[in-house]
Amino acid sequence: MNRTIIKLENVWKIYKMGEVKVNALRGVDLSIKEGEFVSIMGPSGSGKSTCVNMVGCLDVPSKGRISLDGHNIAHLSESELAQIRGRKIGFIFQQFNLIPTLTAIENVMLPMVFQGYSQEDRIKRGKELLALVELQDRMHHRPTELSGGQQQRVAIARSLANNPEVILADEPTGNLDTSTGKNVMDFLMKLNRKEGKTIIMVTHDSYVANAANRVEYLKDGKIIKTKHN
């Protein structure tokens, strides 16, 4: 049995909107094992994004416990969380979120800057990763000079920069047409199967969600159903 890499136990997130309290998450329990490909599905407002922010150490819960590799991260400071994110988690976003002033390879190398890798190592790894997503010939192009699918592949390469155990994809195909989306999904599946990366993906597209081993359905801040593929 693979080890558990991320575990959410009774996680609550309560936002205060003025006088009103909004319960974005209401006691979520979720356990993800190394090498799994998990989809989180749900309608908008179901708490998907909040959930993925928690899993990605971008935010801490109001209540409950989140463990990453057995360590509780609920009480860590922002900078400590940043270090964990940088090393252990790679992000892929719906809007690609590349830095517009940087070229493809510079975008891929950026996470390594924050981990203090040498320039030499960064360039070597950056080239490898761009080759992996088949964009070695677009290395020095800026995001605006790339198509949506290409940008998302650069983002995938970037998410792998520090060789994280977990890839967190938030609607990775949401801004892409069907065939480009399928191409991106193929890359993600390849990462999962060949590289053994743990992938957690948020989507509202059931076709995309079904690429995963397991689909968790979220509604009103709670997991209401789990489906194994």
Partner: protein, 406 residues
């Protein structure tokens, strides 16, 4: 690592070229003002001090009368005399006293007429002292020696066309106060308009020509090593009061320490420079506020980018450094351009000044220290202005920042 942040900061600035330029204008006006005005001020100070500081600090000058314009000793009711010089030689603490005659004279050569200072040279040992004090050297020919009658040594600029002209050479015969003299030496340019346009002749000849048998325009007193200057000055005043029969407070002469003259001059120049510093300082503060404003805008504009960087592992301090560098860079690039403009401005103004004055009296004196100082200062201003925006950027929550839509 740091140079990576530097590159990122630079890229961001280059992306917003127009705004970066506009922001930097504030800084480069300030720095250009600082560099050019301080450079010119320093040049002016050097020029002024060069004109008036022939004397070392161990000298006391004695002149008759109060403050006046023109050569010392002119228009004075009761001039100093040879006897006074003798008396001062006996004063305690005095190494020697030299009486000098300095007048304005009419010189003529080759149909050209010039009015300039005519100065006397003492005989014997004292000649060497005066030559040393004035720092004069012969560029052509020789300096005067004892027994040179009807011979003169002339300042370098007398050869200029608005004085006696370039035909003037060793052996030329010139008229001084209507009397014919032979030019035996032309001095090296000393950078002082007094020395550069002077005509020197021996004291005896000068007394004849100007018909001043006993008068002395000024007395130069060199004190003994280690003597207390103020006490020597008081001694001199005591003796002169007695011989000239005047009471304390009603002196018809003035004894001054050379060092004091210089200090007074310096404090006036310092006041001028202070004024310049204040104006430049104001403009730099305004420039700094401009940078701060731009950086705040940049933080808001790049909120999403900050969120992205945080999500891929940038710590708060990384984000801070990035914005801090960017802001410092704005200041420093502004500073570099400002220094360029400032140096150009100072040299240009000095050049125009030299054309107007017909002499290179005022020169821009831009020291290495001034340039380095201006550069560091501009970086400092940029950095300081960037601190608050950078703190704001670093404290953004990644979730909020990522959600931020442009």
């Amino acid at each position: 690592m740091l140079n990576e942040y530097f590159n990122l900061a630079l890229k961001n600035l280059l992306k917003r070229k127009l705004r970066s330029w506009l922001t930097m204008i504030g800084i480069f006006i300030g720095i250009a003002a600082v560099v050019s005005l301080i450079g010119l001020g320093q040049g002016l100070r050097n020029a002024v001090i060069g004109q008036f500081s022939f004397l070392g600090t161990d000298f006391i000058t004695v002149q008759a009368g109060g403050v006046q314009f023109g050569p010392p000793g002119s228009g004075v009711v009761k001039p100093l005399t040879k006897d006074d010089v003798e008396d001062l030689n006996d004063v305690n603490g005095v190494k020697f006293a030299i009486g000098r005659l300095i007048k304005t004279g009419k010189t003529e050569f080759d149909d050209k007429v010039s009015f300039n200072f005519v100065g006397s040279m003492p005989d014997g040992e004292q000649r060497k002292e005066v030559e040393k004090i004035l720092g004069i050297k012969a560029e052509k020919g020789r300096l005067l020696k004892d027994g040179d009658r009807l011979k003169v040594v002339v300042g370098n600029h007398l050869l200029n066309k608005d004085h006696l002209g370039e035909k003037l050479k060793i052996g030329s015969k010139i008229l001084v106060q209507g009397k014919q003299f032979e030019v035996v030496g032309i001095l090296e340019s000393r950078g002082s308009f007094i020395i550069d346009t002077v005509v020197f002749m021996n004291i005896d000849t000068m007394r004849e020509v100007f018909d001043k048998k006993d008068d002395v325009s000024a007395i130069l007193v060199k004190t003994r090593d280690g003597a207390n200057m103020n006490i020597v000055k008081e001694n001199i005043e005591k003796v002169l009061r007695r011989t000239r029969k005047v009471d304390e407070g009603e002196e018809d002469f003035r004894a001054e320490l050379a060092a004091n003259n210089l200090a007074a001059l310096d404090s006036t120049l310092f006041a001028v420079q202070l004024f310049v510093y204040i104006i430049a300082g104001i403009s730099l503060v305004v420039g700094g506020i401009g940078i701060m404003n731009t950086m705040y805008t940049a933080v808001i504009e790049r909120t999403k980018e900050i969120g992205i960087m945080k999500s891929i592992g940038a710590k708060n301090e990384d984000v801070f450094i990035l914005f801090f560098f960017e802001s410092g860079l704005l200041g420093m690039v502004g500073g570099i351009i400002g220094i360029g403009i400032g140096v150009g401005l100072a040299k240009g103004l000095a050049y125009i000044g030299s054309l107007q004055l017909g002499s290179n009296l005022i020169q821009a004196n831009i020291s290495f220290g001034l340039i380095v100082g201006a550069l560091l200062f501009s970086y400092l201003i940029g950095s300081l202005a960037g601190i608050l925006p950078a703190v704001q950027a670093s404290k953004l929550s990644p979730v909020e920042a990522l959600r931020y839509a442009k």
